[in-house]
C-alpha cells in the first residue's frame, strides 16, 4: 500500500506535463483531464487514509523511499515520502478541495482561450503542494515549497497581459524568496548541527543541540513560514495576489498554499518545543497578523481583497496557535482544515458573484444580490456564519479552541494573546457582516462595466454550483465532526503531542465571551451598513480607515525603503561599474597608449603584438631555463 504514496504526487504531475506539453489538440477536453488527475489523486488519498485508519496508532506512519537525490560526502539528500496522521489530513484537504476547485474552474474559465494551460498550472500546483506535505526531509520539502511558489506565480500572473497581474505575480515570488532565505539557512543550520536534515533524525536529536542553535533554526523556519503564509512582516504580497483568477485565490491563496507555513511549524514541533524564544516570536507574529489582517479586511471595498485580509487574519490565528506549542498544534491544524472549507467556499461565492456581475469586484457596486443569486447567497451565507464562529458551525469549534488555548498559555502572555484573539473575533464578525450586507442586502448599486454593459446577475452553472454546495456542507459540519469525541485531537496527538493547559477561564466562559464580542461586531456592522444605505463612493474615512485601505501603509514602507533604496543603489553601482572600475582600467590603458587615437591604432595592430608578446614570453622562458641549468 505504501508504494501508492508517490502516485499521489505523480498523478497531478503527469496531468500537468500532458496539459502543458500537449498543445492545442487537448484544448477541447484538457480541463476534464485536469479534473480527472485531481480526483484520481483524491481517490488514492482516500484509499491510503482508510488503510491508515485500519492500522494501530503505532503502525500508522508510512514511509516510501524512492531514490538518492544528491549524495556528496556527509550530505545525503534523499527523495523519500512520509505519510503520517498529519500529512494525510493535508493530502485529503489539498486533493479534496483541489478537486472541487478544478470542477468549479471548468465553468469559471469556460470562456478563457487558455483554459488548458490554466488546468496545467493547477495540476502542477497540486503536485508541488502534495510533495511539500509528503516529503520526509527538509530539502525535498523545499522543492515542494518553491514548486507551490512557482505555481502561485504562474497563476497570479495568469492574465499577464494585465500589467497589474504581472507585477503582483512577481511581487509574490520575490517576497516568498525572502522567506526562502529562512528555509535555506534553517536547513544549513540543521546540516551543520546534526549532519542531516531528514525529519526523523533531526527531531530525534533535537534535544542534544544547544538552545541557541534550536532558536536559530526555529526563527529561520518562522521566517520561511511568514513568507509563504503572508504573516507580518512578509504579508504584503497576498492582497495583490488577488489579481489571479478567483479559483486560484480560493485554492492557493486561501485553502492550501498559504497555510504551508502552519504546516512547517507544526511539522517542526520537536524543534519549536525546545526553543521558547522562537515560540514567543511565533505567537507574536500570529497575534499581530490576526489583528493586521482583520483591520485591513474592514477597509477594503474590493470583495476579494476583503477576503484576502481575512485569510491573513485567520492564518494569524493558526500561526499563533502553533506558537503556543502542544496546547495549540492540534487546533492550528483543525482551524486550518475548517478554514480551508469555509474560506474556499467564500471565495468561490465571490467568484460566482463576479461571474454574474461582469467581473465587478467593488462591493459598493453590488447590493441586493440575494434575490438574483439564491444559491450563491445561501452557500456564501453558511460560510459567513462559519467564519465568524457562529455556535455549532465549523469555525466555532476551531476558533474558540484557539482562543481558549491562548488563555491557557498562562500568565500575562496568555491574557494578552487571549484578548488579541477575542478582539480579532469581534473584528472578523464586523468585516464579514459588512461584506455580507454590502453584497447581498440593501439597494442595488449596480453600474455598467467599462464597455457599457449593464450587469444581469444570474446564478452560475452547476459546475460552479456543486463545489459551492459541498464546501458549504463542510463549513457547517466539519467542525462538529472533528470535535465529536475529540476525534481530531486523538488523531493528531501521536504526531504533534497535545496538552490541555490550564486556562484561567472555563471553556464555557470563553465561549460566552466570544459569542458576545461576535454579536457586538455584527451589530456594529449592521448599524453602519445595514440600517443605513451604503454609499456608492467610499467616504473619506478616519485616519485608520485610510491607512487600512492602503494595507496599513505596508507598500508605502516597502516602496520607500526597499524599492527606492534599491533603485538608488543599483543606479549608483551601474555608474560605478562603468566609470569606476572601467574608468581606472581605461585610464591606465589610455595613459599607456597616449591618446585615444593611439589607443585605436594599438587595437588594430593588437593581434600582431599579442603574438609577439607570446613569442617574447616563450623566449623569456627558454632564457630562464638555460640560465637555471647553467647555475
Amino acid at each position: 500500500m505504501d508504494n501508492l504514496i508517490p502516485v499521489l504526487v505523480g498523478l497531478p504531475l503527469a496531468g500537468a506535463a500532458v496539459l502543458l506539453l500537449g498543445g492545442r489538440r487537448l484544448d477541447r477536453f484538457g480541463h476534464w483531464l485536469g479534473v480527472l488527475a485531481s480526483t484520481a489523486s483524491f481517490g488514492v488519498g482516500l484509499v491510503l487514509f482508510f488503510d491508515m485508519l485500519s492500522r494501530s496508532t503505532a503502525q500508522r506512519p508510512a514511509f516510501e523511499h524512492l531514490f538518492t537525490w544528491v549524495p556528496v560526502a556527509g550530505f545525503q539528500a534523499q527523495v523519500g515520502f512520509q505519510l503520517d496522521q498529519l500529512s494525510v489530513v493535508f493530502v485529503l484537504l489539498i486533493t479534496g478541495v483541489g478537486s472541487l476547485i478544478h470542477l468549479y474552474s471548468v465553468g469559471y474559465m469556460a470562456h478563457d482561450e487558455r483554459r488548458r494551460r490554466f488546468f496545467g498550472y493547477l495540476n502542477l500546483f497540486l503536485a508541488a503542494m502534495l510533495l511539500l506535505v509528503l516529503a520526509d526531509n527538509y530539502l525535498l520539502l523545499y522543492v515542494g515549497w518553491e514548486g507551490v511558489g512557482l505555481a502561485s506565480y504562474l497563476l497570479i500572473g495568469f492574465w499577464q497581459h494585465k500589467p497589474s497581474a504581472a507585477t503582483a505575480a512577481k511581487k509574490a515570488f520575490l517576497v516568498n524568496r525572502v522567506g526562502d532565505i529562512g528555509l535555506s539557512v534553517a536547513i544549513m543550520l540543521m546540516f551543520s548541527t546534526f549532519g542531516t536534515f531528514a525529519f526523523g533524525p533531526v527531531f530525534g536529536a533535537a534535544h542534544t543541540a544547544s538552545q541557541g542553535t534550536l532558536t536559530g533554526i526555529g526563527l529561520m523556519l518562522l521566517l520561511a513560514a511568514c513568507g509563504k503564509s503572508a504573516q507580518v512582516p512578509l504579508q504584503s504580497w497576498l492582497g495583490d495576489a488577488m489579481e489571479g483568477p478567483t479559483p486560484v485565490s480560493a485554492l492557493i491563496h486561501a485553502a492550501t498554499m498559504v497555510t504551508a507555513g502552519v504546516y512547517l511549524i507544526t511539522r517542526s514541533s520537536a524543534v519549536f518545543n525546545l526553543a521558547p524564544t522562537a515560540q514567543l516570536a511565533t505567537v507574536c507574529v500570529g497575534a499581530v497578523t490576526l489583528l493586521f489582517g482583520a483591520i485591513v479586511g474592514c477597509a477594503k471595498d474590493d470583495i476579494k481583497k476583503a477576503l484576502a485580509g481575512s485569510t491573513m487574519s485567520q492564518i494569524g490565528y493558526m500561526v499563533m496557535a502553533a506558537g503556543l506549542g502542544p496546547i495549540g498544534y492540534v487546533f492550528a491544524i483543525m482551524h486550518l482544515v475548517t478554514h480551508g472549507f469555509f474560506k474556499a467556499g467564500l471565495f468561490l461565492g465571490a467568484g460566482s458573484v463576479m461571474h454574474g456581475m461582469n467581473d465587478e469586484v467593488d462591493m459598493r457596486r453590488y447590493g441586493g444580490l440575494r434575490k438574483h443569486m439564491p444559491l450563491t447567497f445561501v452557500t456564501f451565507g453558511l460560510g459567513y456564519l462559519a467564519i465568524i464562529g457562529f455556535p455549532g458551525l465549523s469555525g466555532y469549534f476551531s476558533k474558540d479552541k484557539i482562543i481558549e488555548a491562548a488563555f491557557a498559555h498562562g500568565g500575562t502572555e496568555g491574557w494578552i494573546l487571549g484578548t488579541a484573539a477575542l478582539v480579532g473575533a469581534a473584528v472578523t464578525a464586523f468585516y464579514m457582516t459588512r461584506v455580507m450586507l454590502m453584497t447581498f442586502f440593501g439597494e442595488k448599486r449596480w453600474q455598467p462595466d467599462a464597455e457599457g454593459h449593464e450587469p444581469h446577475p444570474h446564478e452560475s452553472p452547476s459546475t460552479m454550483g456543486i463545489p459551492m454546495v459541498v464546501l458549504a456542507v463542510g463549513s457547517v459540519g466539519a467542525g462538529a465532526l472533528f470535535a465529536w469525541n475529540s476525534s481530531f485531537v486523538k488523531w493528531l496527538t501521536p504526531v504533534t503531542g497535545h496538552d490541555e493547559g490550564h486556562s484561567p477561564l472555563s471553556s464555557w466562559t470563553v465561549s460566552g465571551i466570544t459569542f458576545a464580542v461576535i454579536a457586538l461586531g455584527v451589530l456594529v456592522a449592521w448599524t453602519m451598513y445595514g440600517r443605513q444605505p451604503v454609499q456608492a463612493t467610499p467616504p473619506v474615512g478616519s485616519l485608520l480607515t485610510r491607512a487600512a485601505r492602503r494595507d496599513l501603509l505596508q507598500d508605502d514602507f516597502n516602496h520607500v525603503v526597499l524599492v527606492g533604496g534599491g533603485q538608488h543603489l543599483t543606479r549608483f553601482l551601474v555608474y560605478l561599474d562603468a566609470k569606476g572600475f572601467d574608468g581606472v582600467v581605461n585610464g591606465i590603458a589610455a595613459a599607456v597608449g597616449g591618446t585615444s587615437g593611439r589607443m585605436r591604432k594599438l587595437q588594430n595592430g593588437y593581434v600582431r603584438s599579442y603574438a609577439l608578446s607570446m613569442f617574447g614570453g616563450a623566449l623569456v622562458l627558454v632564457a630562464t631555463t638555460l640560465l637555471m641549468r647553467a647555475v
Binding site: 506512519p61 508510512a62 514511509f63 516510501e64 544528491v70 549524495p71 556528496v72 560526502a73 556527509g74 550530505f75 534523499q78 523519500g80 520526509d136 522543492v143 518553491e146 514548486g147 512557482l150 499577464q160 497581459h161 500589467p163 504581472a166 507585477t167 515570488f173 520575490l174 524568496r177 525572502v178 532565505i181 535555506s184 539557512v185 544549513m188 546540516f191 551543520s192 548541527t193 546534526f194 549532519g195 542531516t196 531528514a198 525529519f199 526523523g200 533524525p201 533531526v202 530525534g204 536529536a205 543541540a209 543599483t570 553601482l573 551601474v574 561599474d577 572601467d582 582600467v585 590603458a589 594599438l602 587595437q603 593588437y606 599579442y610 608578446s613 622562458l621 627558454v622 631555463t625 637555471m628
Partner: protein
C-alpha cells in the same frame, strides 16, 4: 595507460575540423553555405560522441588521472605532452562537447553574409570562418581540461584567446545600434585583460619551474612542469616552497584564473564582451571558456599551492561574496538583455569560486556541478534571448513587451531558462547552488548566510526581465513575432531536458565528481567540519526501522 590516445583524438578532431572547415571552397549559394556549415556541425557532434566515450570509459574511484598520455616534448626543459582526466575534467569536457553543437545550431545564420545594395553577396569565407573558429575554441578548451602539464596548460589557456578574439571582434551582434567600434573595443578589452592575466601567470609558471629545477625535481633533476610529479614531490616533502614563494606563485596563477572566471573586481571585460558578441559566442565565453578559469583554480591553485590556498582562501571568499551580490545588483540595473545575463553570470561565478575556496566536499562538488549547470542554464537563457532579439533586432529590454501573447513557446522556454538561472528547486542549478551554500556555511557561517541574499536578487533580475519583455500589453513591433521554429526548438529542447534531469537525478554526475573532490580535499589537507551534534548510531537505527532513511 590506454594504448589508444582517446584524449588526443577528442581534442584533435575539432582542431582538424577547424582547419578543414576553413579550407573548404567559399560558398557561392545559400545551399553551398549550408554544406559548409554542416561539416563543422557534424564534427562537433562526433566530438560529443568521443567525449561521451571518455565519460563512459572513465572509472569513478579508479586512478586519479585516467586515459593518460605522456610524450616528452621539450625534454631539456621538462616540458611534456601529458594528458589525463579526472572526474572534474570529464564532466567539463562533456559540457563543452554538448554546448558546441548547440551553439552552432543556434548561430546557424549569425555569420551569413549580408546582401549588399545590389542584392548580391560578397563571396568569401567569412561564414565558414565563424564555425572554424568555434571548433578551434573547442579544441583549445578541451586540451586545457586534459593537460596535466603546467606549461602545456598555459599554452592552450592562452592560445584560446586568439580564436575568441576574432569571434568577438569579427562577428558582431546584428542589432539596432550595433557599433563596430564598440565591438572592437570589447574584443580588445577581452584580450587585454586576459593577456595581462596570462603574462602574470607566465611569470609564475617560470617561477615554479625555477624552484623545481633548483630542488632537483624531474626526471633528470632539471626541473619539471608535470603536475603529478610536482604534487607527489610536494606530498613527499622532496619539494618545498618557501612561504613567500608559494604565496607569490599562487597569486600569479590565481590572477590569471580570476580574470578569466571572472572574479570581482576583475570582471568588467565580461559585460562588454558578452554584450557585443553574438548570443552564441556569448555562450561560448561564459559557459565554456570562462569555466577553464574556475577549473584551473581547483586543478592548479589548490593542488600546487595548498598552504597559500588556505591562507588566501578567506580573502577570496569575501571577493566572491561581493561578486555574488554586486553582479546581481548590477544585473537588476541593466537595460540591455545580454549585459543583464553577463552580470548574472558574474554573480554565479561568485558562487562557483566561493564553493571552491570554502574547502569542503559539498562546496567543491557543488562548484563543479555549478560549472556544468551554469553552462546549461545560461546557454538556455541566452540562446532563447538570442532568438528573441533576432526577431526584433534590439538588445534593449524596453523594446519588448507582451511577447508571451504572440509567441508562447518562446516565452515558456525563456521562463524555464530564467527559472534555472534563479536556481528554482527541481532544476539542476538548485542542487549545485545549495551544495555551495551549505558547503560554505559549515565552515564560514556568516559568509554562507550573506550569500543567500543572492537567491533573492536572482529572482529579482530574472522576473523583472521576464515581466518587461514577455508580459503586459503586446507592443506593436512585437505583434508579428513568429514562435520558435524547428531549428530553435532543437536547440533548446536538449538544454531544458538536461536542466530537468540533472535537477531531479544529479547522481550520475556527482558520482563522477565525488572521487576527484576527495582527492582535492586531501591535497589541501582539509576535512569537512564535523556536525556539532551528530545523530547517534542508535538514533539512525531507530529512524531506519521506521523506514525514514537519512
Amino acid at each position: 595507460m590506454s594504448s589508444f590516445p582517446l584524449l588526443t583524438v577528442a581534442a584533435a578532431l575539432p582542431a582538424v575540423g577547424a582547419v578543414l572547415t576553413a579550407a573548404l571552397p567559399a560558398a557561392t549559394s545559400a545551399k553551398r553555405r549550408d554544406i559548409n556549415k554542416t561539416l563543422p556541425l557534424g564534427i562537433s557532434v562526433l566530438t560529443l560522441v568521443l567525449a561521451a566515450v571518455v565519460a563512459i570509459r572513465f572509472k569513478p574511484g579508479g586512478a586519479r588521472y585516467q586515459m593518460t598520455e605522456h610524450h616528452s616534448w621539450i625534454s631539456d626543459f621538462g616540458i611534456g605532452y601529458s594528458l589525463g582526466v579526472d572526474g572534474i575534467a570529464v564532466v567539463l569536457i562533456l559540457l563543452t562537447a554538448v554546448l558546441v553543437p548547440v551553439v552552432m545550431l543556434a548561430s546557424w545564420h549569425d555569420a551569413d553574409p549580408v546582401a549588399n545594395d545590389a542584392g548580391t553577396f560578397e563571396r568569401n569565407r567569412r561564414t565558414q570562418g565563424f564555425f572554424a573558429l568555434i571548433l578551434a575554441v573547442e579544441a583549445m578548451v578541451v586540451l586545457s581540461f586534459e593537460a596535466t602539464d603546467v606549461f602545456l596548460f598555459y599554452v592552450f589557456f592562452e592560445a584560446m584567446l586568439i580564436p575568441m578574439y576574432f569571434l568577438i571582434g569579427g562577428f558582431g551582434d546584428r542589432t539596432v545600434g550595433e557599433d563596430a567600434r564598440q565591438r572592437s573595443y570589447a574584443a580588445v578589452k577581452f584580450l587585454l585583460y586576459n593577456l595581462l592575466g596570462g603574462l602574470i601567470m607566465l611569470a609564475a609558471v617560470i617561477g615554479l619551474y625555477v624552484i623545481t629545477a633548483k630542488q632537483g625535481i624531474g626526471t633528470d633533476g632539471h626541473g619539471t612542469f608535470d603536475l603529478s610529479t610536482i604534487t607527489q614531490a610536494l606530498a613527499s616533502g622532496k619539494l618545498h616552497f618557501s612561504p613567500v614563494a608559494e604565496k607569490a606563485l599562487f597569486l600569479g596563477f590565481m590572477f590569471a584564473f580570476a580574470v578569466k572566471a571572472p572574479l570581482w573586481p576583475l570582471h568588467t571585460w565580461l559585460p562588454n564582451a558578452m554584450g557585443e558578441a553574438t548570443p552564441g559566442v556569448a555562450v561560448l565565453i561564459t559557459a565554456v571558456v570562462d569555466k577553464v578559469g574556475t577549473y584551473a583554480m581547483l586543478r592548479f591553485c589548490l593542488q600546487l599551492f595548498p598552504d597559500a590556498s588556505k591562507t588566501f582562501g578567506p580573502a577570496i571568499l569575501v571577493l566572491s561574496l561581493i561578486g555574488i551580490i554586486y553582479g546581481a545588483l548590477l544585473a537588476v540595473g541593466q537595460k540591455d538583455i545580454k549585459r543583464l545575463i553577463a552580470y548574472a553570470s558574474i554573480s554565479h561565478f561568485g558562487f562557483i569560486i566561493m564553493g571552491i575556496f570554502a574547502m569542503t566536499s559539498q562546496g567543491q562538488a557543488g562548484a563543479t556541478l555549478y560549472m556544468v549547470n551554469h553552462g546549461i542554464s545560461t546557454a538556455a537563457l541566452l540562446l532563447v534571448a538570442g532568438f528573441l532579439m533576432s526577431r526584433r533586432g534590439s538588445r534593449l529590454i524596453a523594446d519588448y513587451g507582451g511577447v508571451q501573447k504572440v509567441a508562447p513557446v518562446l516565452a515558456g522556454t525563456f521562463m524555464i531558462g530564467g527559472l534555472a538561472t534563479l536556481s528554482l528547486p527541481g532544476l539542476a542549478p538548485f542542487v549545485s547552488e545549495f551544495l555551495v551554500l551549505v558547503g560554505t556555511f559549515t565552515r564560514y557561517p556568516a559568509i554562507g548566510i550573506v550569500a543567500t541574499i543572492g537567491i533573492v536578487l536572482a529572482a529579482l533580475y530574472v522576473l523583472v526581465l521576464y515581466q518587461r519583455t514577455m508580459t503586459g500589453p503586446v507592443k506593436p513591433e512585437v505583434s508579428g513575432f513568429r514562435d520558435l521554429h524547428a531549428r530553435e526548438l532543437v536547440v533548446v529542447t536538449p538544454l531544458i531536458a538536461l536542466l530537468l534531469f540533472l535537477g531531479v537525478y544529479p547522481k550520475p554526475v556527482s558520482d563522477i565528481v565525488n572521487p576527484a573532490v576527495r582527492d582535492t580535499m586531501s591535497d589541501v589537507h582539509r576535512t569537512d567540519p564535523a556536525p556539532a551534534h551528530p545523530i547517534t548510531a542508535a538514533q539512525v537505527a531507530a529512524t531506519n526501522s521506521q523506514g525514514g532513511g537519512q
